[in-house]
C-alpha cells in the first residue's frame, strides 16, 4: 500500500525515481498545510522591490516595540521601529492621527541631512531630515509602506547608495 520497491529496500545510491518525486510532492503538500507562508507575503515583498534605485543598502529590522500611550479617547498604540544598515540607523515612531492616518516621526543616526521617501501603495511622500537627523511625515495613509533614504550628496563620502527598509504595515 505504501511506497515500496518490489526488489527490497530502496538504496541511497540509486537515482531519484518517480516514487521519490511523488513522496516529495506529498511532503510539500504536508508543509503547505502545516506551515503555510502568509498569502500576502510575496505581494509585500514585490512592493518593497519596486525601487527606482539601482544601488541599494538594505536596512534590517533591528527592534520593534509597541507601547500603549494615553490618547484623548482610550488607549492608542505607539510603535517604535529601528532599522540598521551598514552606514545608517533609522528609528521611527508611528502614532495614530484622529483622521485614520498615521504620523511618522523619525531619526537618522549618525545625524545628517538626507532626502527621505515614504512609499505607500497610493503615494510617495518626500521630506528632508534636519541637521539632527530628524524628519517627520505628519499624515501617511495606513497600509503597506517602505522608507527609502536617498543618497547623500556627491561631496560626502557616503557614496551613491540609497538605504531601503523592508515593507512594513502602518
Amino acid at each position: 500500500m505504501m511506497v515500496s520497491d518490489a526488489g527490497g529496500r530502496p538504496s541511497a545510491d540509486e537515482p531519484l525515481d518517480d516514487a521519490d518525486f511523488g513522496l516529495l510532492d506529498d511532503i510539500r503538500r504536508l508543509f503547505e498545510a502545516a506551515d503555510p507562508m502568509p498569502n500576502d507575503l510575496p505581494e509585500r515583498i514585490r512592493f518593497s522591490l519596486a525601487l527606482r534605485d539601482l544601488e541599494i543598502e538594505v536596512a534590517r529590522l533591528a527592534a520593534e516595540e509597541d507601547r500603549p500611550v494615553l490618547a484623548a479617547r482610550g488607549a492608542e498604540q505607539s510603535r517604535t521601529i529601528t532599522f540598521d544598515s551598514d552606514s545608517l540607523t533609522i528609528m521611527i515612531r508611528i502614532d495614530a492621527n484622529r483622521d485614520g492616518t498615521v504620523r511618522v516621526d523619525g531619526w537618522l543616526a549618525p545625524p545628517q541631512r538626507r532626502e527621505i521617501e515614504m512609499k505607500t501603495a497610493a503615494e510617495a511622500l518626500t521630506v528632508a531630515s534636519d541637521d539632527q537627523g530628524r524628519f517627520a511625515f505628519p499624515r501617511v495613509l495606513r497600509g503597506t509602506a517602505q522608507l527609502v533614504v536617498r543618497p547623500a550628496g556627491q561631496e560626502s563620502s557616503g557614496g551613491g547608495r540609497s538605504v531601503v527598509t523592508p515593507a512594513l504595515i502602518l
Binding site: 530502496p10 521519490d20 511523488g22 511532503i27 508543509f31 502545516a34
Partner: protein
C-alpha cells in the same frame, strides 16, 4: 515502481520539468531591470525560503522579516548571479544566514519547529476519500517525525525546490554531496524504509 504514491496519484506540476529553465530566463530578465520578472521569481521561490527560515525555529513574524531582507539583498547582488542553481544556492544560503542572525540578536524567539511536528492541523471531517487521505498524511507525518532533525529539515526544504536544483539546495544547507540529487540519498531512503515498514513500525 510506477503508480500512485502514498497520497494517491502522483501529480507532476505542469511547470515542474521546465521550472529550472524558466527561472534562469527570469533571472536574466530581472538583471536587465524587468521588475515583473523579479516579481515572478519572488512568487516562485518565496515558499522555499519560508521553509528554510521556519526550519531554523523562527516565529512567523521573524521569518517574514528574514524573507524581506533576503529579497532586498538579492537586488544588490543580481549582477553576480547567472543561472538558476546559483540563484537558489545564494537565496538559501542567505536565508539561513539571515535567520541565524535574527536568532543571535535574540529577538522574540519561539521554538516553532518542535511544536510544528507535534501536531498536524485538523482539516475537519470529510468524505471517506478524505479520511483515507488524512490517514496516509498522518502516516507520512509520523514517519518524517522519526527522522533526524537534519533529515527532516532537508526533505522539508527540498520538497519546495525545483528538481534540477536539489543538489544546489542541499549544498547551501551544508549537507554533504550526494545527500540528495541525482541520487536518492540517505534521508529519503530512510523515509521510504520507514513507510514500507508500515504503521506498526511507528510508535503512536
Amino acid at each position: 515502481m510506477d503508480g500512485p504514491g502514498p497520497l494517491g496519484p502522483v501529480t507532476v506540476r505542469a511547470s515542474q520539468p521546465d521550472r529550472g529553465a524558466r527561472i534562469a530566463g527570469l533571472v536574466s530578465a530581472a538583471r536587465e531591470g524587468n521588475e515583473d520578472a523579479l516579481g515572478q521569481i519572488v512568487t516562485e521561490l518565496s515558499p522555499l525560503l519560508w521553509q528554510v527560515a521556519r526550519a531554523t525555529g523562527l516565529s512567523s513574524g521573524d521569518a517574514e522579516d528574514v524573507l524581506q531582507t533576503v529579497w532586498l539583498r538579492l537586488v544588490a547582488h543580481l549582477d553576480d548571479i547567472h543561472d538558476s542553481a546559483a540563484l537558489i544556492g545564494w537565496l538559501v544560503t542567505t536565508a539561513k544566514r539571515e535567520a541565524w542572525r535574527v536568532h543571535a540578536a535574540g529577538r522574540k524567539q519561539l521554538p516553532a519547529d518542535q511544536e510544528l511536528l507535534a501536531e498536524l492541523p485538523d482539516q475537519g471531517p470529510g468524505s471517506d476519500e478524505q479520511v483515507i487521505l488524512d490517514d496516509q498524511r498522518r502516516m507520512l507525518w509520523v514517519a518524517i517525525g522519526q527522522l533526524s532533525k537534519r533529515c527532516q529539515d532537508l526533505l522539508r526544504i527540498i520538497a519546495f525546490a525545483p528538481r534540477p536544483d536539489y543538489a544546489a539546495v542541499a549544498a547551501a544547507l551544508g549537507m554533504p554531496v550526494g545527500s540528495i540529487g541525482p541520487t536518492r540519498g540517505r534521508c529519503l531512503a530512510k523515509l521510504r524504509a520507514l513507510l514500507a515498514s508500515g504503521p506498526e513500525g511507528s510508535p503512536r
